[in-house]
């Protein structure tokens, strides 16, 4: 919990990692990929305040103690949700597997939620693995990486692929209701457009009982993403990278992106994620609580953030998705106890109704 000016914020870090990019874990003959990958992440790391920067060697792998300190003792986080990223093509034991994350869960069961993963290209064996993982870790969510390479030679897949639907149906059956899809900056997809967001649209329509959290808000396809989010009530903006990469390094871009997300997606469907170990959560949590839309004329048609907005983004929205119990002192006052602070209109509503004549979709 983070307390500031008498307000108590329940913090859910809904997108974080515990990776191993150490040299011992590099696949022989593919070292350049393993190094290239972590170098990319280290580029992102540079966008944080300099006082929080780590040496490259530390960045390869932190200890369990480092993580507990950075995230919980210093980082104000109440509950952290591990997302896995396998990358076994060039990291021997995987970059950040469910097993690695689960080892932390075993030691600190009250601190973590572990999300699973699947890949439709793994077929029946993958379905069986998902069932086992769900039973073992009580999965409520998965992280999907549609641009991931595969040993079968494929360089990516789409949520709308036939085999993908088998896995989404399996998620439904197993009670896994949160589907985090990595749709971010275009590093790495080989085929046409591995991080295009259109597949989320169809999948979200066909699986209305699942939630689709688009991590990194689809940047740079934020426009495509926003129009999907307006129309699909079960689509969320995962704000990992949005806060970490922009709030400190590009504050004006951060303000605009936040303004657009608040307009198109709305404060009830935005979730905070620190993206640890790319960045530590402390400066992000404290910075976001202190942050406000600038007063300049250029930002005048973006909404100001209320305390309630920040509480929702920093934890309450994700707590709702994952059925996490929130202490009474951190909850919002019940409806009716606070005056309405915003127009009742839904974000981007004119686009759906066509009231303003949006024209064809880009």
């Amino acid at each position: 919990m983070y307390e500031k000016d008498g307000e108590k914020y329940f913090i859910v870090d809904s997108h974080m990692h515990f990776w191993d990019a150490s040299r011992d874990n590099w696949v022989e003959g593919r070292e350049q990929y393993a190094k290239g990958w972590i170098d990319c992440f280290y580029g992102y790391h540079q966008l944080a305040p300099p006082t929080t920067h780590w040496e490259w060697d530390k960045y390869l792998k932190v200890s369990a103690d480092d993580l507990m300190r950075d995230v919980f003792e210093e980082g104000h986080v109440d509950k952290a949700i591990f997302q896995s990223t396998y990358l076994k093509y060039w990291y021997k034991n995987g970059f950040n597997t469910t097993e690695q994350n689960a080892a932390m869960l075993d030691k600190h069961p009250d601190k973590f939620i572990v999300n699973g993963r699947w890949d439709p290209r793994d077929g029946d064996a993958g379905l069986k693995q998902l069932e086992e993982d769900a039973a073992r870790w009580n999965l409520k969510g998965v992280k999907l990486y549609t641009a991931e390479w595969h040993e079968n030679g494929s360089r990516g897949w789409k949520l709308t692929d036939k085999d993908s639907y088998r896995f989404l149906e399996k998620c439904r059956e197993l009670g896994i209701k949160n589907i985090h899809a990595h749709k971010g900056p275009t590093i790495w997809p080989l085929n046409k457009d591995g991080f295009a967001v259109e597949d989320v649209d169809q999948a979200a329509t066909d699986f209305p009982d699942l939630n689709f959290i688009v991590e990194h808000a689809g940047i740079p396809r934020i426009d495509d993403f926003a129009y999907i989010a307006v129309q699909e009530p079960n689509v969320y903006a995962g704000c990992s990278v949005v806060v970490g990469a922009l709030m400190h390094a590009r504050p004006k871009f951060f303000a605009r992106i936040m303004g657009e997300l608040l307009f198109w997606v709305g404060e009830d469907r935005m979730t905070f994620g620190s993206d640890y170990n790319i960045w530590t959560p402390r400066w992000q949590v404290e910075g976001l609580v202190d942050w406000q839309m600038p007063d300049d004329e250029a930002f005048s048609d973006y909404p100001k953030l209320t305390t309630a907005t920040k509480k929702k983004i920093l934890g309450l929205n994700a707590a709702r998705l994952y059925d996490i119990e929130v202490p009474a002192e951190c909850q919002l006052p019940a409806a009716g106890e606070i005056p309405a602070q915003r127009e009742p209109e839904q974000p981007g509503e004119q686009l759906v109704t066509g009231a303003a004549g949006a024209g064809t979709t880009a």
Binding site: G43, I187, K192, D223, A249, R256, A356, G357, T360, A362
Partner: protein
């Protein structure tokens, strides 16, 4: 103008398709030299570099191929050698460009579609974003929806953004003459005054997506090549 100036100018027409900016402005040109080929002609040797090792190979391929075409077309250049450095697909791309192969041939068994559609997708984005670039200063100066809907390319204030918008519209086969409306839908049809506010709201968002990505790329390039200046001038 020296031959190197001409080569540089040609490189300035090559765009990062996703960021919609010239590779020369983005500092993607690591080196650019011109030398004699020993037979009275000139060899242009250009080395390109990108923000990360994993920059998408499809975009990377387009830039290298476009750079080859632009430089090879410069009068006086008898041979163009374009090399992509420090990239996970450098070998494939460089071999492909040297052999004049297309993307699908270069990544045989891995890539399924050629890149014309991808290029078009980003040009369409550019045409939407470009409308915000041209119209935003007018909106800020108090020009209302009715006037904006009536505004033509010929009557909009001259600016580099307007030139760029015209070029992108021409490339897509959209109207780019003086009488063409500034604000158009993706199919080229006129935006009505009632549609202007939301149209511009969307144009601004598209532009923001492109420019935010550009900020990432610039910072990654700067940290990757800190201390190793490119050849910009």
């Amino acid at each position: 103008m020296t031959l190197r100036d001409s080569v540089w100018q040609a490189l300035g027409t090559v765009l990062d398709p996703e960021l919609d900016e010239p590779i020369t402005d983005l500092d993607f040109v690591a080196s650019c030299t011109v030398s004699g080929d020993g037979h009275g002609g000139s060899v242009a040797d250009v080395r390109l570099r990108l923000p990360t090792f994993f920059c998408a190979p499809n975009f990377s391929f387009l830039m290298v191929a476009d750079a080859y075409d632009a430089v090879a077309a410069v009068p006086g250049v008898t041979r163009a050698e374009i090399t992509l450095t420090d990239h996970h697909a450098s070998d494939e791309i460089n071999r492909g460009i040297a052999a004049h192969a297309g993307f699908v041939e270069v990544f045989e068994g891995e890539a399924e579609t050629d890149l014309a559609g991808l290029r078009r997708y980003f040009l369409e984005k550019s045409v939407i974003a470009g409308q915000d670039r041209v119209a935003r200063p007018l909106v800020d100066a108090g020009v209302g929806p009715e006037e904006l809907a009536e505004l033509t390319l010929g009557s909009a204030p001259a600016s580099p953004a307007l030139d760029r918008l015209r070029q992108r519209r021409a490339a897509l086969g959209l109207p780019d003459d003086d009488d063409a409306p500034l604000l158009i839908h993706a199919d080229g049809s006129r935006v009505s005054s009632a549609q202007v506010p939301l149209h511009l709201r969307r144009a601004r968002l598209t532009r923001l997506g492109i420019e935010t990505n550009g900020e990432f790329c610039k910072s990654f390039l700067a940290s990757r090549y800190a201390g190793a200046a490119g050849t910009g001038w």
